[in-house]
């Protein structure tokens, strides 16, 4: 028994080791480097303590971007989750609808550059949508820009959200639901009291993924609006991007660490709420 235990310990390690090594090299080291940069000036590499953080927090552009990013995440994430869940429930209830799933996944397969072309054709002042409605709304300005961005985000990410929710729903034990129904629980009740709690873990996963994708929506938005979009669509990524191009690496690093800290604590908070089962198994 003793010998076997030692042996398995080594083979267990082999599961993790390659991954951790690689992650250390390619992800952790850059992460730490960014952290380091946040305490030094950009090109001359002088230590300046918290000066960068102060500069960033006082920086108007950063504050504006942070506010709008938070707003975007706050509005779009729940929207995405709810719509995804709704669709998944519908497909779960009526299994014949599942063949429509592929259609929702298509947007994810589209490369960014072609999305931009289509978007421009569609949303331009002389575009298809305006032609259809007979109006001349400028979708690229002001509030409209925000909603357009939100629309792009949801359009892109609904597919995989749906897939993941579906997988999660299927994992809810069917017998329990049946038993509940036999005992007379209605649809709503069985949903809220049985299904939903079982989904907590998956909800956490999907939320984190969607949060990551909030950052990824940057590429398309940037291709459409250029590096200086209207204020309402000005996300954190733009600030970082512009700082980078202007060689302000110190401010960028400080800003990134700040936003990662905020995002990180949100994630941890969610984990606490939704993923309490950690460590029990």
């Amino acid at each position: 028994m003793r010998k076997k235990y030692g042996f398995t310990w080594l083979s267990k390690l082999m599961f993790l080791l390659p991954g951790i090594l690689g992650i250390c090299v390619f992800t952790l080291i850059p992460f730490l480097d960014v952290l380091k940069r946040s305490f030094y000036t950009s090109l001359s590499k002088e230590f300046c303590g918290l000066a960068n953080y102060r500069a960033v927090l006082q920086n108007q552009a950063f504050r504006l971007a942070a506010y709008h990013t938070a707003r975007f995440a706050g509005v779009c994430l729940p929207l995405l989750l709810v719509v995804g869940l709704g669709l998944a429930l519908a497909m779960d209830r009526y299994p014949f609808l599942e063949k429509w799933k592929a259609m929702y996944l298509f947007p994810m397969a589209m490369p960014g550059a072609s999305i931009v072309l289509v978007w421009k054709l569609f949303f331009a002042r002389q575009g298809l949508l305006n032609g259809f409605l007979g109006s001349r709304i400028d979708f690229f300005q002001g509030e409209n820009a925000f909603w357009m961005l939100a629309f792009i985000y949801i359009w892109r990410n609904l597919g995989y959200t749906l897939v993941l929710w579906l997988a999660a729903l299927k994992a809810v034990p069917g017998e329990v639901l049946e038993a509940a129904r036999m005992d007379g629980a209605g649809n709503a009740e069985s949903f809220f009291y049985i299904t939903l709690p079982c989904l907590k873990g998956n909800c956490f996963t999907i939320t984190v993924l969607s949060l990551l994708n909030v950052f990824k929506v940057f590429r398309e938005a940037y291709l459409i609006s250029g590096p200086y979009p209207p204020a309402e669509a000005y996300l954190l990524q733009y600030v970082f991007h512009n700082w980078y191009a202007n060689l302000d690496f110190d401010k960028m690093a400080a800003g990134a660490v700040l936003s990662a800290a905020v995002a990180g604590s949100t994630v941890l908070l969610l984990k606490r709420i939704w993923d309490k089962g950690e460590g029990k198994l």
Binding site: S42, L43, S44, N59, Q60, A61, L64, A113, Y222, L223, G226, P227, Y228, P230, A231, Y234, V239, H241, N242, W243, Y244, A245, N246, L247, D248, F249
Partner: protein, 795 residues
């Protein structure tokens, strides 16, 4: 419990060989067959040629490369039509008959005169249009006399026989080096389609044999062994057709060749200055293809274009030199072939392989610009050829047709600079100058400039715009400026945009536009060319200035269209879109030079005017003296005058702003490069985009221009719509001393440089539209612009 794991393990994977799998396999197969098997490609090219777009595979410690040698010819200034090997050496044919025989010995190449008296006597008195000469001395040529084309075939004995196979149609002659002249004649039209009739003439007997019709507009014919390559461009389509001469049939297209040459064919319809050349190798299956990127060896229907000579390292990459002919001989050192190349300037060079020197020189000087800049490209070519011990590499951040955006390129540059891998010379066009100065990236050039200015004269008024706190970090190599054209009394006294707007409002035209700008976009761009910056000294947005600017634009917009109805405006815009040359600045004098439909008769006054407009505005930004010739002649024809357009003070737009990276490891060489790019020798010998900043260079160019005065420079003819029978011919004269003096005075009067921050410029262009066409209030728009710019300035 024990049995569970095993039963679970029995879950087998079943692959459904359903429709989708089959379709996937089919698609994969189609893709594999459709291309020429890129998986077998081991060479780094495979259709994508390595070029001077930076970052290609840099050689290791390999030895040996081709070195360029100038050929000391006798008649250098005469355009060379052909170059081909004969028994005694290399035959260099020039269009007036000043042929030469190049004989190479151990020491180099010597040129012997080979004047053919029989031909010279004809060439002296006639205007030769096209000519080709063969090894045995036979010639076939065409000249124009009294409006008629005359063609002759001159035998090797000197007898001139009339040759009128094609009647009146134009013909172009090519020597096939296989005992025949090949003649192509273009027929047809853009509407009905072009065909080129091909025939060949035996150089011994003069017998003509009709070959076949090529169903395209052919601009270049090359004969290599049994292959005949016909390059065509009919405006929509271009490519290379391959024929077998012996079989008299068309062969399959060589896709790799076509793809490599397509972009060169697209830009050219010139049958004399070739965008590319193909020559046969004397041994083996391959052909040699010459393009701006270099010399490549290619096996017909093969997959690879193997680069033999890198264009950017020698004069091949110099865009001011246009190719006319090329040939290949064997017997060079190390068994490598020797390449002979003739340029339209009359120069000839040869490339010999030298295996002693490294394949790539040790010292690398990197010159970077965001977009392709021809001024810098020529400077790089010139500097490289003077310093073969260096490797001067020109890199552009954005190549054409990429998935990249400008910002991506900027980010890559930022990465390079931050990691110490930055380029040595930076061309600041499009780069954030002030930001870079702030970060201390650029070297202070004040000393260098002081030294240069002590020896030669420069346009200090332009160069000074780049001083920041008394130090200079960039020097422009050239600059552009805007001119306003119209009747003298009208444009005299227009000293700022206010007066300009008032002038437009006061003008009366009958249903035509006043200055031909019409759209918000073009008006904004044109006015921005001359307007002052919109950022005050503190770095904030100057709202007043912006307000004034936008209001003026709005007035100009309204005034420009005042006399036209809505449909007329739309029509005009549609018409102009196809004709005018959209530059960054909205309008260019080049529009003007083109003639053709640009002028029409003003029915009221029975005089000519631009499109019916009394005024016209454009930027002068190309070959200044040529543009001046056209400008002066055409204005004289129209009875109008020009002046530099200004808003209070006169501004110019600097281009090709050169700076040196402080962290560069080759600062001395980089500075030397700048010095070369700014010196008179260089600036007067190339065709620059814009006015050269070196005053001495400009004066030299003017002097040699004056040598031709008074004289005929060129002529233009056109007929305009609706009245096809009426055709107008305009003679373009060389500018007189007075014209040149006027230009110089105007240039000296420039007070400031208009370097506008890209972001602010783009924002004003974008959001200003609505203010100009009246959809929004000017105040509102200024607010919106300020909002947007605030973010940018706050970053």
């Amino acid at each position: 419990m024990k049995t569970e794991p095993k039963s679970l393990c029995r879950i087998r994977r079943t692959y459904k060989y359903n429709k989708s799998t089959i379709l996937a396999v089919l698609l994969a197969a189609a893709l594999l067959c459709g291309c020429a098997g890129p998986l077998q490609d081991s060479a780094p090219n495979g259709g994508i040629s390595q070029g001077s777009s930076g970052g290609g595979a840099v050689a290791s410690a390999a030895m040996g490369r081709y070195v360029e040698e100038q050929i000391p010819a006798n008649y250098k200034s005469y355009y060379a039509t052909d170059i081909f090997p004969v028994e005694e050496g290399i035959y260099l044919a020039r269009n007036q008959g000043m042929d030469e025989l190049l004989v190479g010995d151990g020491q180099g190449v010597k040129a012997q005169e080979l004047l053919s008296q029989d031909f010279l006597s004809v060439a002296e008195s006639k205007a030769m249009v096209s000519m080709s000469v063969a090894e045995n001395g036979a010639r076939i040529y065409e000249y124009v006399e009294g409006g008629q084309r005359k063609r002759y075939f001159m035998t090797s004995a000197g007898e001139h026989l009339e040759w009128d196979y094609y009647g009146d149609g134009p013909a172009v002659f090519w020597y096939g080096r296989d005992g025949y002249f090949y003649v192509s004649s273009l027929r047809g039209s853009a509407g009905a389609g072009y065909t080129t009739a091909l025939c060949r003439v035996d150089v011994e007997t003069g017998e003509t044999e009709y070959l076949w019709d090529i169903p395209q507009a052919v601009i270049n014919i090359s004969v290599c062994g049994d292959y005949l390559f016909a390059g065509y461009n009919d405006g929509h389509d271009c490519g290379i057709m391959i024929y077998s001469i012996s079989g008299r049939e068309q062969l399959e297209e060589d896709k790799v060749l076509t793809e490599a040459l397509q972009k060169y064919l697209e830009g050219s319809m010139n049958t004399e200055r070739h965008p590319y050349l193909i020559a046969a190798s004397q041994t083996g299956e391959g052909v040699y293809v010459l393009t701006r990127e270099g010399l490549f060896r290619h096996v017909i229907y093969g997959t690879v274009m193997e680069q033999v000579i890198e264009g950017s390292l020698c004069s091949i990459g110099d865009i001011s030199k246009l190719f006319t002919a090329m040939c290949v001989t064997e017997g060079g050192s190390g068994g490598m072939p020797v390449f002979w190349l003739a340029y339209d300037s009359g120069e000839a060079v040869r490339f010999v392989y030298n295996k002693e020197i490294p394949a790539v020189p040790d010292t690398l000087v990197r010159v970077y610009s965001l977009h392709n800049d021809n001024n810098v490209r020529q400077a790089v070519a010139g500097y490289q050829s003077r310093h073969p011990e260096l490797y001067v590499r020109y890199e552009t951040g954005m190549a054409e047709g990429d998935g990249q955006t400008e910002e991506d390129a900027l980010k890559n540059l930022a990465t390079q600079i931050a990691t110490g891998d930055g380029p040595d010379v930076l061309v600041m066009d499009g780069l954030p100058y002030d930001s870079y100065v702030e970060k201390g990236i650029l070297m202070d050039l004040s000393e260098m400039y002081a030294r240069l200015a002590a020896e030669e004269e420069y346009f200090g008024n332009v160069a000074d715009g780049f001083c920041r706190e008394g130090k200079r970090y960039a020097i422009p190599a050239a600059f552009q400026f805007t001119v306003l054209m119209g009747e003298r009394e009208m444009i005299e006294g227009i000293d700022d945009l206010e007066e300009f707007a008032s002038l437009l409002e006061g003008l009366e035209t009958e249903g035509t536009s006043k200055i031909g700008l019409l759209t918000e976009d073009r008006i904004l761009k044109a006015m921005a060319m001359v307007s002052g910056g919109w950022v005050n000294e503190k770095g904030e947005l100057d709202r007043e200035a912006l307000n004034r600017f936008l209001s003026l634009c709005r007035r100009v917009y309204a005034a420009d269209r005042a006399e036209m109805g809505r449909e007329e405006v739309q029509e005009e815009i549609g018409l102009r879109a196809n004709r005018l040359w959209y530059t960054r600045h909205g309008a260019s004098v080049y529009d003007f030079m083109n003639g053709n439909d640009l002028y029409c008769r003003n029915t009221l006054s029975d005089s000519y005017c631009f499109y019916g407009n009394p005024l016209f505005m454009g930027s002068m930004g190309g070959d200044i003296l040529t543009e001046l010739n056209y400008l002066v002649s055409e204005l004289a024809f129209l009875g109008k005058d020009y002046r530099v357009f200004s808003d209070g003070d006169t501004a110019c737009m600097p281009v090709s702003m050169l700076a040196v990276n402080r962290a560069s490891g080759v600062q001395v060489e980089a500075e030397a490069f700048l010095q070369y790019a700014l010196c008179a020798d260089f600036q007067k010998s190339v065709v620059m985009n814009g006015v050269p900043i070196n005053k001495d260079a400009l004066y030299e160019m003017e002097k040699s221009s004056l040598d031709h005065w008074p004289g005929h420079y060129s002529s233009m003819s056109w007929n305009y719509d609706g009245q096809r029978e009426e055709s107008v011919v305009l003679e373009i004269e060389w500018s007189s001393g007075e014209d040149l003096r006027k230009l110089n005075d105007l240039l000296d009067g420039i007070d400031r440089t208009n370097v506008c921050d890209t972001m602010i410029y783009n924002t004003v262009m974008e959001l200003g539209r609505q203010a100009v066409n009246g959809e929004k209030d000017v105040e509102e728009t200024v607010d919106a612009i300020a909002e947007k710019v605030r973010i940018y300035l706050a970053e």
